[in-house]
C-alpha cells in the first residue's frame, strides 16, 4: 500500500474547487459563470472557445504556441485563430457544405487541426478527428460509418492511405489538403484559405445540435461513433476549471494526439474556453525535448498520459536534473490507470504529483478525478467531479444495485451530465445496451474504498488499452484474416510495463501454410499496413486451432488466462479447445 500524498494547506488553498463550490454546484451555475452563450439560448462550442474572447477585448491574447518538429515556432493570438477558423468555415460553405455536414480530420499536432475543428463547429457542422497513424482500413471504416462529407489531411497521408478508396465513400464531397498544392480531385487548403472571407457569422446552433463524433472501438462489430452535442462545452468549462485548474492566461500543455477525444476536449476546447495559452508540440515523445519544453515555455498545467510518464521514468530521475520546472503548478494524467509509482515519481521529480483522472469517449469529459484540493491515494482515479454521480454497481435488468465499499462491480454514472454521448451513430440497440435504468454502464470494472476514492480494476469486456488507445480485438482479427495464410485469429491485450497493454494475436493457418518466422513477419507486416502500428499486434503466435464456444466465438478470455497463467474460469461454453 502506498502512503497518501497529503496536500499542504497553502497548496489546497490555491484550488478553484473548494468545499463550497462542491456544495453549491449546478450545471446552470457553471454555464452562467464561465460561458457567454448566444441570443435566444443558442450555444456554439467555437463561439465559446474563440469568438467571444475577441468580443470581450482579449483578441491579442496568445491562443496557440506551436512548436514544429524542426524547431519552428508559431504564435497565434485569439484574433488570429478566430480569423483562421472563420476562413475555414467560409471555405466549407463556399464548397456548398451546410449545417449538419460532417468534416473529418486526419492531421497531426499542427495548427491546421485547430482551425479545422473550430471552423467546422462555427459553421454548424460536425467535427470528427481521426488518428493520423491509423492504417487505411480503420480510416475507411470510420469514414463510411460517419458518412464523411469533407476530409482535411496532408498530401502524404492522402496518397498513402486514402487515394485508393476515397471514391468508395459516396458521401464525400470535398478533400482539403494542407499546403499550397493538392493532388487531382482535391483542394489545396492554403490558397483556399487565403481567398476565403475572414468574416463568418457563427451559426446559432442549439445546445442539443450535433457537434462532434468520436469513434471508439467495440469488442464485436464495427467501431462506434459516439455523438456529442454543443452542450458538451458546459462540461469542458467545468472540468477545465475544476479538474485541470485552468484560468485565463494559463500556459497549458496537453500532449494528447488531436486524433483522439482527449486531443479535442482537452487539447482544443476546454483550454480555449478558459482563454489559456496552449503549447502544441508537433514532435513525438522525446525526453530532452519534453523537459526542455516544460522549462522554456514555463508550462503551468500539464496534461499527459501514463505511457509517456513511464518512458520518462525509464530514463531515471537524473535525466530530469538541471531543468527548472518551477512554473508547473498542476500535473494531470489520463488514458489508462496511472500506476502509484508514477504518481509518486512525479512528486519527486516535478515537485507535484500527477493527478490521475478517468473518463471515456462516451462521457465526453472528465468524470472522476484527483483534484488539486484532494489528498491523493496513488493508484486511485480519485472522486467524482461536481455534478457527476458515480457508483460501483451490479447491473440488473431494469437498473442497478450498489456494491459495498471494497466490492468490485461496474463503474456507472447517473445520466444527465451535459457531455454525455447522445447516440452511437446508426446503432440505437448498442447505445441502449450501455444503459441500465438511468445509469450509464461504462464497461470498466472498479471498486470504491471507505473514503470514497474509486479504483480501476479492469475492463468488463475484451477491449485492449494500449498506450491510452482503446483497441477493439475484432477490428484487429478482421484485418489478420485478410492475410492469405490466416484462417482464424484471436487477439488479446498483454500487460506491459510501459504501454499498459500490448496487442498479441494467436492465429491458425489455412491448409498449405506452415508456421515460420518469415510467415509471422509477413502477417505482422500485413496487419501494420492495414491498421497502423498503434493497433496492429506486436507479436503473433501460431496455433493449430483456437479455443471456441459452441457458437463458434473465439474465447479470448481463455487465451489470455492461459497466456498469463491465471485461472481459466467458467469454460462450460468451450466446444473446441486450442491446440
Amino acid at each position: 500500500m502506498w502512503d497518501t500524498i497529503k496536500k499542504p494547506e497553502a497548496l489546497r488553498a490555491r484550488a478553484q474547487l473548494t468545499t463550497g463550490v462542491r456544495a453549491g454546484f449546478s450545471w446552470a451555475k457553471i454555464e452562467d459563470e464561465v460561458l457567454d452563450g448566444l441570443p435566444d439560448g443558442a450555444l456554439n462550442i467555437a463561439y465559446e472557445a474563440v469568438d467571444r474572447h475577441i468580443a470581450n477585448g482579449f483578441g491579442s491574447d496568445t491562443a496557440l504556441r506551436w512548436l514544429g518538429k524542426s524547431g519552428e515556432r508559431l504564435d497565434l493570438s485569439y484574433a488570429d485563430l478566430a480569423a483562421a477558423s472563420s476562413r475555414f468555415a467560409s471555405v466549407l460553405s463556399g464548397h456548398g457544405l451546410a449545417s449538419g455536414a460532417r468534416v473529418f480530420s486526419l492531421l497531426g499536432r499542427q495548427p491546421e487541426v485547430f482551425y479545422t475543428a473550430l471552423g467546422t463547429l462555427k459553421a454548424g457542422m460536425t467535427f470528427t478527428p481521426l488518428f493520423s497513424a491509423f492504417g487505411p482500413e480503420p480510416i475507411q471504416t470510420r469514414m463510411e460509418i460517419g458518412e464523411a462529407n469533407a476530409l482535411v489531411t496532408t498530401e502524404a497521408i492522402y496518397r498513402r492511405k486514402i487515394e485508393p478508396w476515397i471514391k468508395q465513400i459516396p458521401s464525400m464531397r470535398l478533400v482539403l489538403i494542407v499546403g499550397d498544392d493538392a493532388p487531382e480531385g482535391c483542394v489545396a487548403l492554403g490558397p483556399a484559405m487565403a481567398a476565403a472571407s475572414a468574416e463568418f457569422d457563427v451559426v446559432h446552433t442549439r445546445p442539443e445540435d450535433e457537434a462532434l463524433i468520436h469513434f471508439t472501438s467495440g469488442t464485436t462489430g464495427r467501431p462506434k461513433g459516439a455523438v456529442h452535442v454543443h452542450k458538451a462545452v458546459v462540461n469542458h468549462a467545468s472540468t477545465g476549471r475544476y479538474a485541470l485548474e485552468l484560468k485565463p492566461g494559463t500556459v497549458y500543455w496537453c500532449t494528447a494526439d488531436p486524433g483522439w477525444v482527449t486531443g479535442t476536449s482537452y487539447g482544443i476546447i476546454a483550454p480555449l474556453v478558459h482563454r489559456a495559452t496552449l503549447v502544441i508540440d508537433e514532435a513525438e515523445f522525446d525526453l530532452e525535448r519534453w523537459y526542455g519544453t516544460l522549462e522554456r515555455e514555463k508550462v503551468e498545467v500539464w496534461y499527459t498520459a501514463p505511457t509517456a510518464i513511464r518512458m520518462m521514468m525509464r530514463a531515471g530521475k537524473d535525466a530530469a536534473r538541471g531543468y527548472d520546472f518551477s512554473s508547473l503548478r498542476f500535473l494531470a494524467s489520463v488514458g489508462e490507470p496511472l500506476n502509484p509509482e508514477a504518481v509518486v515519481w512525479g512528486n519527486e521529480v516535478f515537485g507535484q504529483p500527477f493527478h490521475d483522472n478517468w473518463w471515456q469517449t462516451e462521457t465526453g469529459g472528465i468524470m472522476i478525478a484527483n483534484t488539486l484540493d484532494m489528498d491523493i491515494k496513488p493508484g486511485s482515479m480519485g472522486k467524482p467531479l461536481p455534478g457527476i454521480e458515480a457508483a460501483v454497481v451490479n447491473r440488473k435488468d431494469d437498473g442497478v444495485t450498489p456494491c459495498k465499499p471494497g466490492e468490485i462491480g461496474d463503474l456507472a454514472l447517473k445520466v444527465g451530465w451535459p457531455s454525455m454521448m447522445r447516440a452511437y451513430l446508426h446503432e440505437e440497440a448498442r447505445y441502449k445496451k450501455t444503459f441500465a435504468g438511468d445509469w450509464y454502464i461504462s464497461g470498466d470494472l472498479a471498486m470504491q474504498d471507505q473514503d470514497g476514492y474509486f479504483w480501476f480494476v479492469g475492463r468488463a469486456d475484451d477491449l485492449i488499452k494500449s498506450s491510452g488507445h482503446l483497441i477493439g480485438p475484432f477490428e484487429v482479427e478482421s484485418a489478420l484474416i485478410e492475410h492469405e495464410a490466416v484462417a482464424e485469429a484471436g487477439v488479446i491485450g498483454l500487460p506491459d510495463e510501459t504501454a499498459g497493454e500490448v496487442v498479441k494475436a494467436y492465429v491458425s493457418l489455412n491448409p498449405g501454410f506452415e508456421p515460420s518466422e518469415e510467415l509471422e513477419k509477413s502477417i505482422r507486416g500485413h496487419a501494420r499496413k492495414k491498421l497502423g502500428p498503434a493497433v496492429a499486434p506486436r507479436t503473433i503466435e501460431f496455433r493449430k486451432t483456437l479455443p471456441k464456444t459452441r457458437s463458434g466465438k473465439i474465447m479470448r478470455r481463455l487465451l489470455k488466462a492461459r497466456e498469463l497463467g491465471l485461472p481459466e474460469g467458467d469454460i462450460s461454453t468451450l466446444e473446441t479447445d486450442e491446440s
Binding site: A133, A315, A319, H526, R528
Partner: protein, 81 residues
C-alpha cells in the same frame, strides 16, 4: 564489428520490429518515426532487440542518435569500439 555490419544488423532488427517495411527501400536518412512511421513502442522494441543482439545499452537520452539508420550505425560503431 565494422559500421557496415552494424548498419545491416540495424536494418534487420528494424524490419523485425516493423515488418511492413521493405529492407530494400529503406533510405539511410529515413527518420524512424516521421518517414518509416514507427511509434514509440516500436522504438522501445527496437532498442530491446539491439540490446539482445549486440549487448549494447541505449539510454533514453540517446534515442535521437539512432533516429535514422545512418545515425544509428555511427552511434553503434562508436559504442562498440
Amino acid at each position: 564489428m565494422n559500421r557496415d555490419t552494424l548498419y545491416a544488423i540495424f536494418i534487420e532488427e528494424l524490419v523485425n520490429v516493423a515488418p511492413d517495411l521493405d529492407a530494400g527501400t529503406i533510405n539511410k536518412d529515413d527518420q524512424l518515426q516521421d518517414d518509416l512511421e514507427l511509434d514509440s513502442m516500436d522504438v522501445l522494441n527496437l532498442v530491446a532487440a539491439l540490446h539482445e543482439r549486440l549487448g549494447v545499452d541505449i539510454p533514453e537520452d540517446d534515442y535521437v542518435q539512432i533516429e535514422t539508420p545512418a545515425k544509428a550505425a555511427d552511434y553503434l560503431a562508436a559504442k562498440l569500439k
